[in-house]
Subunit: 299 residues, 3 copies
């Protein structure tokens, strides 16, 4: 496998660096208040697709500059909802929400993903750029705004699917139907954040240290299986038992399984070598992968 050169991708809205097996994606739009528009959107989608397939990467940290006006201030409303209403489409069925496209790209990444939310977040800044991640670290002072019902639109970025699963319907309703702005210690957000840090400056280092530990000590194939089992569960516990049995038989019999047990016996750190491109079972995915692209009716 030849590895992507992230510096050669021509990104203008994000910066991407690799530190060992940890990839760091930093929003590079402080002077546009980290709004969600322009090249930002295709670049996030593209980079998460690359990071998913890059065997060097075990953990992805997504963050902003801690001095930016916001982590992400949502869509730019100076032109109204043109981000949603723009384009000459065949009809409403042809539209695909940009926030949802970003959510899907992050959600589908088979590596551990962490959002380091070191500033305020509005709209898609709290939905698409936080909910599809595995972990969220946040600044205690962050204002987190879910303004949709107060702005005449609805929950986007698949947040209406993710929030009830992450927190349950009672909290999801409180967040989405009030259209309110909350701090991370709000009871309606309880359980969403892995860690809450007192200052903006502390958020990324805490997330990065956490990422480093996971990158050094977790198996890439184990992580991919675990994420798949969590997010693509069977309808019944019996079927899940059949699937996770197969996963563990394959994993335990592979190099990473042997190394995990051996390192434990020898009381030393693990050194995992299996990769997704070489060692992930063909059994994954076991679910329907749905193509969300719209196919034009008119030629």
């Amino acid at each position: 496998m030849s590895y992507p050169d992230y510096g050669a991708q021509g990104y203008t809205s994000i910066l991407v660096t690799l530190d060992g097996a940890v990839a760091v994606v930093t929003i590079n739009r402080a002077k546009e208040r980290n709004t969600f528009s322009g090249s930002f959107i295709p670049e996030i989608i593209a980079v998460f697709d690359l990071l998913d397939r890059d065997d060097r990467v075990r953990v992805v940290v997504f963050t902003a500059e801690s001095t930016a006006p916001a982590y992400c201030s949502g869509a730019d409303l100076t032109g109204g909802w043109s981000i949603i209403t723009g384009g000459n489409l065949e009809g409403p069925q042809a539209y695909r929400d940009a926030g949802g496209q970003v959510s899907l790209a992050i959600f589908r990444c088979r590596k551990i993903t962490i959002a380091a939310v070191n500033g305020h977040a509005v709209g898609v800044g709290i939905t698409g750029l936080q909910l599809p991640f595995d972990f969220r670290f946040v600044w205690a002072g962050a204002k987190l705004a879910f303004p949709f019902v107060r702005r005449g639109i609805s929950a986007e970025a698949a947040s209406s699917w993710l929030l009830p699963r992450l927190l349950g319907h009672s909290k999801a309703t409180a967040l989405l139907l009030t259209g309110g702005t909350f701090n991370p210690d709000s009871p309606y957000l309880q359980g969403l954040y892995h860690q809450i840090l007192p200052t903006r400056e502390e958020v990324f280092p805490a997330a990065f240290a956490f990422a480093k530990d996971l990158a050094e000590n977790t198996s890439q194939t184990s992580v991919a299986w675990t994420k798949a089992l969590l997010w693509h569960p069977a309808d019944s516990i019996e079927e899940q038992h059949i699937i996770d049995s197969r996963g563990n038989r394959e994993l335990a019999g592979a190099a990473d399984g042997a190394e995990g047990a051996k390192a434990f016996k020898e009381k030393r750190p693990v050194k995992f070598t299996d990769t997704l491109s070489e060692n992930l079972s063909n059994y994954v995915p076991w679910w329907k992968e749905i193509d969300v692209r719209y196919r034009k009716a008119k030629l």
Copy 2:
């Protein structure tokens, strides 16, 4: 559209008033200890059906008199379980739980619904008259009793479906399998109540002020879409993305979407005008609507 005159409906167990876009339904059975029986049941079902379709209404607050013996003391057991066992039915398949009928009527209401629980609640008083609402405000001293397994029956009013979704299975099990009585600050209820008030008298005013704000500042169509997305989710995140994309394209292109963005730019309160009867997309509902009525086998 001609609007219903709630005073002319002949309700005897409830009082219904409209204050701007907030409808208030008050249980009017204090001398029967607000038991769940008689005309109370069909009246709740009827009024929620009307409120759902009445374009004037944006938020519904359901409450009791704060001086009543209870918010709702559940079924009247002086005649045993006659509320369940009564009637000459074709068989057990022909019975439809009254609590569940009430739950469905509230659950199907496309407006924001709030229960202001200003007294004790037993059985259906904590299930059907609380769980299907979007928000619950409660008195800190309320005794909340789930006595089913200690009374020889089972969870009713679809509570076994709603509780795990609202709070997760661990808490739902604790509530339903113990048959216990809890206070609102019980860890097993954590997350269920939007606000807990120290006195019975404070519950309704707090819920009403909350309702007023939502009635003035939220879009009726945005709310209906959000509730539909939350409670009728697709099986996969991809399908949800396709549905919420369509919703936002339609909403952002309508009057409320334009107004939401314009008011934001002009830093002024919104004035939403879209209504469910005129402006809700034909795409809603996208799910199977199941007719729960029993059809007699015998002619």
Copy 3:
């Protein structure tokens, strides 16, 4: 019905006693550090199958000796992952995880089940031996380790199915993707434990007193219906309403329903007599029961 004699089953890894309607299963492998291997596995499966069908039993408490090195220290890794990789199977599809088999046996038990976790728990000790129970009591000092991704395997014992349902995906991800070790008061475990006790010695007595109350005051058929409704819900609230209506019509019309209402009116303790073998509706189960056994391809 003739009742099983638990003392005559030849169990060597567990002790089983009956105290009224409460069955107590105690792990009897302290000198093997309560590892999950050998006869322990088939004995747990067998005893939960018996307890499910034994009409005398209303509540099952599962525990360890409070002086054992651990509640359950997980798989024995001295031979690597041989518990997973062992056996001459037709292929990975033929393997059935032992932890999952135990999870299913406990999950399928129609009585109230309680885990009294009076020591540390690792791997299957926190998954299969805790998550499928209805209630969990735990020692505040217990170390609870989810080491899978750090040992090259994946979540087992259907934990990837149970944890998101019990606690939501945000907490489930925190537990399974970190591979971490937690104390019961961890925010990531919030809601999992019914009660947290300061000392190891207090865990079983607290669980047993709780069990005694439930055994004396709950209906066996009500409990079985409630568990079935919680864990085998319909796809829609309407279908759940149809199912729970039927349940309550059958239960309220049976001896336990009559007794529950009568005892309430007479302000005296209940005395329930209905049993699963004689009085549970033929309507249960209403879901597909999946046979997870592997059928050999080769003769």
